[in-house]
């Protein structure tokens, strides 16, 4: 059975989206991404080093835009204006591709989103034909609002970016999922494979992570674990869990016991 993740008509087999930050080098990045099975890969946009060695590798040589869907982010932006500028630059780098991960941050300590600026940026970018996957907090009202203004995917944090604290407020994530008609992808906060599983069991369409893989002692092995964690959670969600009971319920028949 094909169980595809569909984001604005684009179809993906993998429900795990991964970042490319915090790796030792491009080889490790490429190996971890391969092991994760991810098809959507986030990147950041930053100044090129001037006077560099001509052979200095470019990330997109290791993570080919022909092979992966590149999702440029606006990490590090604290205003709508800065985020819009980064989106325009990313579209230029990627030859007109208009898919972006919008994140407008509130402060450096929490990296929580600035919702006012996020909404301003999203509205302007959508008018300029960008396809927005948007990082937000776990507020169901805001999530719905972002969907209504035309974001193609809403991506609530499960815990602060890079914290690895896991799914801190499953009821809110569930509430967002139940109320959504675009894919809900948990973005940020996952620490280990069981966290990814929990997000998927709640009915999320996918999970986006970076630090949980990159800062594992063995990133490639963790990438493989995350792939399985996401798949296990998805299958459990589709299968439908049993209901919880207060007392035991014997698994073996009580009839037919020998005297």
């Amino acid at each position: 059975m094909d169980d595809l993740l569909i984001i604005d008509k684009a179809k993906y087999h993998s429900r795990l989206l991964v970042g490319t930050g915090k790796y030792k080098n491009h080889n490790e990045t490429a190996a971890a991404i391969k092991a994760s099975g991810a098809e959507i890969v986030t990147v950041a946009i930053r100044r090129t080093n001037i006077g560099q060695n001509k052979n200095e590798p470019n990330l997109l040589d290791s993570i080919s835009p022909q092979k992966y869907t590149i999702l440029p982010n606006t990490a590090g932006c604290y205003t709508a204006g800065d985020a819009i500028r980064v989106c325009q630059l990313s579209r230029e780098i990627l030859e007109g591709k208009n898919l972006v991960k919008l994140e407008v941050l509130g402060d450096k300590k929490t990296l929580y989103p600035n919702i006012d600026e996020t909404i301003i940026a999203a509205e302007k970018l959508i008018k300029d034909n960008f396809k927005i996957m948007v990082y937000t907090n776990d507020d169901p009202i805001i999530a719905k609002r972002l969907e209504e203004i035309g974001c193609i995917s809403v991506m609530p944090l499960a815990a602060p970016i890079g914290s690895g604290l896991g799914i801190r407020n499953p009821s809110n994530i569930l509430s967002i999922v139940e109320n959504a008609s675009v894919p809900i992808i948990v973005d940020a906060g996952v620490g280990t494979a069981s966290d990814a599983t929990i997000a998927m069991e709640l009915g999320c369409s996918g999970v986006l992570m970076n630090t949980a893989i990159a800062e594992a002692k063995n990133p490639v092995l963790m990438a493989s674990a995350m792939k399985k964690g996401v798949l296990a959670g998805r299958q459990a969600f589709l299968a439908g869990r049993m209901s919880k009971k207060k007392y035991a319920s014997a698994s073996s028949p009580t009839d037919g016991m020998p005297d």
Binding site: T20, R47, I50, A75, L89, M209
Partner: protein, 66 residues
């Protein structure tokens, strides 16, 4: 003539195109975008645009991020 590239003051000769800048400063031309005085300068104009005194140029690329 002085221009600013990625925040650094640089001296360049007259009649320098953007493409010449890439050669002078060893900048690879693949997978980058260029902003001239706050506006994107499309790739199609890199060969012809002649840098002017005081131009502020930003050159960016994709790097690792989450």
């Amino acid at each position: 003539m002085n221009v600013t590239i990625n925040g650094e003051q640089k001296n360049v000769p007259g009649n320098t195109t953007v493409t010449n800048l890439f050669l002078q400063f060893n900048i690879h031309r693949k997978n980058i975008a260029l902003e001239l005085n706050g506006e994107i300068l499309p790739k199609s104009e890199w060969l012809n645009y002649i840098v002017k005194e005081g131009d502020a140029i930003e050159i960016v690329e994709a790097i690792g991020g989450g």
